[in-house]
Symmetry: C2
Subunit: 292 residues, 2 copies
């Protein structure tokens, strides 16, 4: 089942509503303009993972959108309410997807609509983590420098306007692949539609973990960031792009990492098989499993 | 008041619902992913204007999104239901905004959510048509050729993912302007966030009306198209871009045209005053007023 908790000044811990009934106004700018933000985080045994990082990024998206949203403490209380309700309804589910959504609200009302949704992790998501991914490179249309000079493009913000991200994944599926890595018009590797790109080199026992640099206009990955911190403690070298497609083709392993699917190995790029490493995947997945 | 009519196979003419109550599921992909399409059209004295053009563009957006939506006849019946309800509630309003919205529906349900919304034309919209617009050029980030090679960017589709369009208008307002004309990364004039760019030259009595070419990845403007047809009948020459900012600075008049605000003169671009022509504006507005 799905649990919905609306953030509401009249209810300190959030207002639990019936998720089987309509709860949004049809005039909400989230629905009519994709004008809002979201976060997706994983909860394990009732505890949200990387909650602070997600709430920080939510605040950063809100700033980019010039949108006033509830404060972190209010989100935190609503998350706990949602997880408690979910655990009561689905006692056998150790894992849950927690979505935080805030929209600009009903047109003219000048007040954000904000809610927390808790649901099962989709089976397909779990499957992809195990089986790995066939990936297509698709052009994102932007060059890797535009984000810094054009804040109205909202490139570091996790907005509700995800139609292009969803269309890219549909395009991949229609062409025999599972997922996408976007490239910039100047040939740099950017990100997946719902994930961050990671690659590893393991040369003479010296292990390096790489990801595209944030300045290219990609979303700051909460999982990438947490994994980098954990890998550094284990003696890994860290590196930040610019990366090009051939860097991925030459790597010892490539993954897409995200909060729900976690670390998913990339098996091929545009039909070309990649090196994979079950040892490296196991080592890094072990670090990911210890995120709190 | 706002009238809402949901398209529903069980109700031939659409299902009228209470717009003061929540009518959308919080899990609708329109709200959580901006995954859907819309159209906005003007109705005058109960008659929708350019209905066929809007329904054709809606079908074209649906195809780009690979989204199955109700057919044109069902939309048409729901529009009439909405306009009848609106006229009963607001008998003094000769003009109304009719919005058509279709989303990918509730996650997992595999069925679009579709509705028609009828409401008053906002006063601010009417005012801008009269006073004219101060406009900023803002970079859209894409080059003018990407639309043709990257269909996943959905560039000719009118999707619900309008967060960037809205952010651009907010940016303009925060910088003393009213609206925006997007430019491509290769320096071409594209479109407004919710309008099409028009310019006119009047040289020795030979009048030419110009607009950026569709191949640059802009939305096909229903008002631009209808006005071009009407102006041609009146002896105007017609032209299609590529256009650059200096073409607008050198024109005898520049407008932004759209279905609700209609023909709004552009007074300045990036603070530089433009030539305006009340005679040309009156002549073209007269043609626009006769759209059916």
């Amino acid at each position: 089942m799905t649990v919905l908790v609306f953030l509401d000044p009249a209810h300190d811990d959030g207002r639990v509503v019936d998720a089987s009934q309509p709860q949004l106004m049809a005039t909400d700018l989230g629905a009519t303009r994709g004008d809002g933000l979201f976060e997706s985080l994983l909860a394990v045994d009732g505890a949200p993972r990387k909650e602070r990082a997600h709430l920080d990024r939510l605040a950063s998206s809100a700033a980019a959108l010039d949108l006033t949203v509830p404060d972190a403490a209010a989100w935190s209380r609503a998350i706990r309410t949602g997880l408690r309700e979910f655990a009561a309804a689905e006692p056998d589910q150790g894992h849950a997807v927690v979505k935080l959504i805030a929209t600009r609200g009903v047109e003219g009302a000048g007040r954000a609509t904000a809610w927390v949704q808790v649901a099962r992790v989709p089976d397909a998501t779990l499957r992809q983590r195990e089986t790995g991914l066939k990936v297509l490179f698709l052009e994102r249309g932007y060059d890797s420098t535009v984000a810094q000079r054009a804040p109205w493009l909202l490139m570091g913000a996790k907005t509700l306007s995800y139609a292009v991200n969803m269309a890219a994944v549909r395009y991949a599926k229609a062409h025999g692949a599972d997922d996408v890595i976007f490239t910039s018009s100047d040939g740099k590797v950017l990100e997946g539609p719902t994930s961050t790109v990671l690659l590893a080199y393991d040369r003479d026992g010296r292990k390096t973990l790489l990801t595209p640099q944030l300045e290219s206009g990609i979303l700051a990955g909460t999982s990438q960031s947490a994994l980098f911190a954990a890998a550094k403690e284990q003696g890994w070298e860290l590196g930040y792009g610019p990366l090009e497609p051939r860097d991925l083709l030459e790597a010892d392993a490539v993954w897409l990492i995200s909060s729900i699917r976690l670390l998913a190995p990339v098996l091929s790029l545009d039909g070309q098989e990649l090196r994979t490493s079950s040892a490296l995947t196991a080592e890094l997945s072990d670090l990911v499993d210890r995120f709190v």
